[in-house]
């Protein structure tokens, strides 16, 4: 279809290809295969999304006859943002710590992956170690380890570092950075999957590129910036998103605990509606974060693609000009040939 009708062909001039019977049947079979997901999406995605928005706009009380809705419009949101003592500070805290720790995790993963990609012995052993946390990381485990101070290395004196940081930086920025140092191990534990993704991507870069660059006299440093980094740029974005999602849905995240406790608090102003409103605010913040990282690391079109688009646009312009001329010619022909025809 796409080859028969390039974009510039006018709508009425397009070749209409009727969908054949085979194609229709194929499409039906395809829908059949995706059917479980479609039903699931209706019940577990679209309906809950709509319902939770409706919940968020209501005050919900649980009575013996079921849930009692009272429409209060934006009441829940204003209450959360203006008078909840925990939510907003926690949200700011979450935002700052995520914005700081995600780049740390991803850069660290990249460094480890580059080291593992060298010709070294025991590569599989190191991979085994770096991937181990992925298997056992979960909220209660992390909580229990942090409780016993096993998540900080006593050799690295965290106190000295945090002291130095809070002396130089204002409190609001210093707090997340010092918590970053205090929980260094658990933060590094998050980089298990990113390391493997980077490693796998690094191994797929064509070595011929490096050879060519070497012949042209490039240094290792230059090769890293001009070949390695651009080739794995999509993976950087993928890892950033993965890490954000992972950090956000982890039980160590205080915010989601707050949502759950609001859901089950018996007070009249909290409850399902209040918790839904919290969940909406939180989800929008997470989406914004993902969007921010996507904007930074989105692969831009490369030079040749941009030129192709430019040339395409130029050609379209010329074609329009030709069409205009043709139309004018036709008009003129009509105007001047009528008398002779009549």
């Amino acid at each position: 279809m796409s080859t028969a009708n390039p974009k510039w062909v006018k709508k009425e001039n397009r070749i209409r290809v009727k969908r054949g019977k085979l194609e229709k049947r194929e499409a039906r079979v395809g829908v059949f295969f995706v059917l479980p997901w479609l039903i699931g999406a209706a019940f577990f995605l679209l309906y809950p999304l709509g319902a939770s928005l409706w919940y968020a706009l209501n005050n919900i009380r649980l009575t013996s006859e079921g849930m009692k809705f009272t429409f209060i419009a934006q009441g829940n949101f204003t209450q959360i943002l203006l008078s909840d003592p925990d939510f907003l500070p926690q949200l700011v805290d979450y935002l700052l710590s995520t914005v700081i720790s995600v780049p740390v995790i991803v850069v660290f993963a990249l460094i480890i992956a580059i080291m593992l990609n060298q010709k070294i012995r025991g590569k599989s052993f190191f991979r085994l170690i770096f991937f181990l946390p992925v298997i056992i990381v979960s909220g209660p485990i992390l909580g229990s380890l942090t409780e016993q101070n096993a998540s900080t290395i006593s050799v690295v004196d965290a106190q000295a570092v945090t002291g130095a940081i809070s002396a130089f930086l204002p409190g609001i920025i210093a707090a997340p950075i010092s918590s970053l140092f205090a929980n260094m191990v658990t933060i590094l534990w998050y980089s298990g999957v990113p390391i493997l993704i980077f490693l796998s991507a690094l191994q797929k870069i064509d070595t011929a590129q490096y050879e060519a660059a070497y012949v042209d006299g490039a240094s290792g440093w230059e090769m890293f910036w001009k070949i390695t980094l651009p080739s794995i740029k999509p993976m950087i974005l993928l890892n950033c998103i993965y890490t954000i999602i992972f950090v956000s849905s982890n039980d160590q995240n205080q915010l989601i605990g707050l949502i759950k406790s609001a859901m089950f608090s018996g007070t009249s102003e909290k409850g399902y509606g209040y918790a839904s409103a919290m969940a909406w605010i939180y989800s929008l913040v997470v989406l914004l974060l993902v969007g921010l990282f996507a904007l930074i690391f989105m692969t831009r079109k490369d030079h040749y693609e941009r030129r192709a688009v430019k040339i395409d646009r130029q050609m379209r312009k010329e074609r329009r000009k030709i069409l205009k001329l043709e139309r004018r010619q036709a008009r003129h022909a009509k105007k001047y040939h009528r008398p002779s025809a009549g």
Binding site: G30, I39, A41, P48, I135, G139, P140, L196, I197, L287
Partner: protein, 328 residues
């Protein structure tokens, strides 16, 4: 004659000395084909240091779990306990109701994993193999569900489950898993989608000419070649369900009430209260809760996964290579 033989000698000597200096430099700094000694030392040193930091909490956990109270208080004992003390494990496992919780953990992680395998493979195949209207929209929605935190759909889903009467039972995990909406299902659909795309179309067309329908060609051509994808998805789904605390507590265990269903992770989260009730009811013998017992409990909660990991390490570590998310 003599002059001729002696004349080149000094030159040769300098050449040799130069060579040796070059050789040392080569040895230390490396060449194009081979890493230098210094670089290797740096890389190995860093990797081993970071590896130690990675393993530190686990090593600490293992070491502390064997210690008696005296060992804990003794400042001269850092890593190696004075004796191999297993009573911590006995007390921790008794307070966690270990074997029962283990069995239920296997059930709560295993059954949804099987359902996820079926539904996600079907969905992934449908997306990879067939072209139909709305396919792009479906893929977009799947990515959106990946990015969207589960908290946003949690409350209406909770209400729905309680209306359907499947709250506080395993069905609250099985039903969404059967409909490709389980834990992290978007990732698994993507893995299957990516994988089924690499199955050559010609093979399926050949089967079609031989009279195989779409189901037949799915089961006898695409499925057998997708074994790596199945292994990856099964392992990760199992591990993630096993480690899930938030949703398990909400849907299966019950937040305010106790449904009787529990997992090791939930038992670990409630370890302190569990242990105190155990210590009160146990007839003597039970010491008050200390660090060692907690660490022993943490270790036995992850031990099944650790064993699984070391048996199936290759499948875990190579999983990401195999799924082809990094492109071919």
């Amino acid at each position: 004659m003599q002059r001729n033989t002696t004349a080149p000698a000094p030159a040769e000597k300098t050449v040799r000395r130069k060579l040796s200096r070059e050789r040392v430099q080569k040895f230390l700094m490396g060449t194009r084909d081979k890493n230098g000694f210094l670089k290797l030392v740096a890389i190995y040193g860093l990797l081993i240091c970071i590896g130690f930091i990675y393993l530190y909490p686990i090593l600490y956990m293992v070491s502390a779990s064997f210690m008696t109270l005296d060992d804990l208080l003794d400042s001269s004992i850092q890593w190696i306990p004075s004796s191999l003390n297993l009573s911590n494990y006995r007390q921790a496992s008794a307070s966690m109701d270990y074997w029962n919780s283990l069995l239920q953990s296997f059930m709560i992680a295993g059954l949804p994993t099987l359902c996820t395998l079926v539904s996600c493979s079907l969905t992934g195949y449908g997306l990879a193999r067939f072209k139909f209207r709305g396919r792009g929209a479906i893929i977009g929605l799947i990515i959106l569900t990946f990015v969207l935190p589960s908290q946003i759909t949690m409350i209406p889903t909770y209400v729905m489950y309680s209306k359907l009467g499947i709250l506080n039972s395993v069905w609250a995990f099985i039903v969404p898993a059967l409909l490709a909406m389980g834990l992290n299902a978007p990732i698994f659909i993507m893995i299957f989608w990516q994988f089924f795309r690499t199955v050559p179309q010609a093979l399926i067309e050949a089967a079609k000419i031989d009279g195989a329908g779409p189901l037949k060609s799915f089961f006898s051509i695409s499925l057998p070649s997708a074994a790596p994808a199945f292994i990856t998805v099964a392992l990760f789904s199992f591990v993630w369900y096993w480690n899930e605390f938030y949703l398990t507590q909400l849907y299966v265990h019950g937040v305010l009430t106790d449904s009787g269903l529990t997992t090791l992770i939930i038992q670990l989260q409630n370890f302190n209260t569990n242990y105190n009730t155990y210590a009160q009811t146990a007839s003597g013998g039970a010491t008050s809760l200390n660090e060692s017992i907690k660490m022993a409990g943490t270790l036995i909660a992850v031990l099944p996964l650790l064993i699984l990991y070391f048996i199936l390490q290759r499948h875990f570590v190579e999983s990401i290579d195999r799924t082809g998310i990094t492109g071919e």
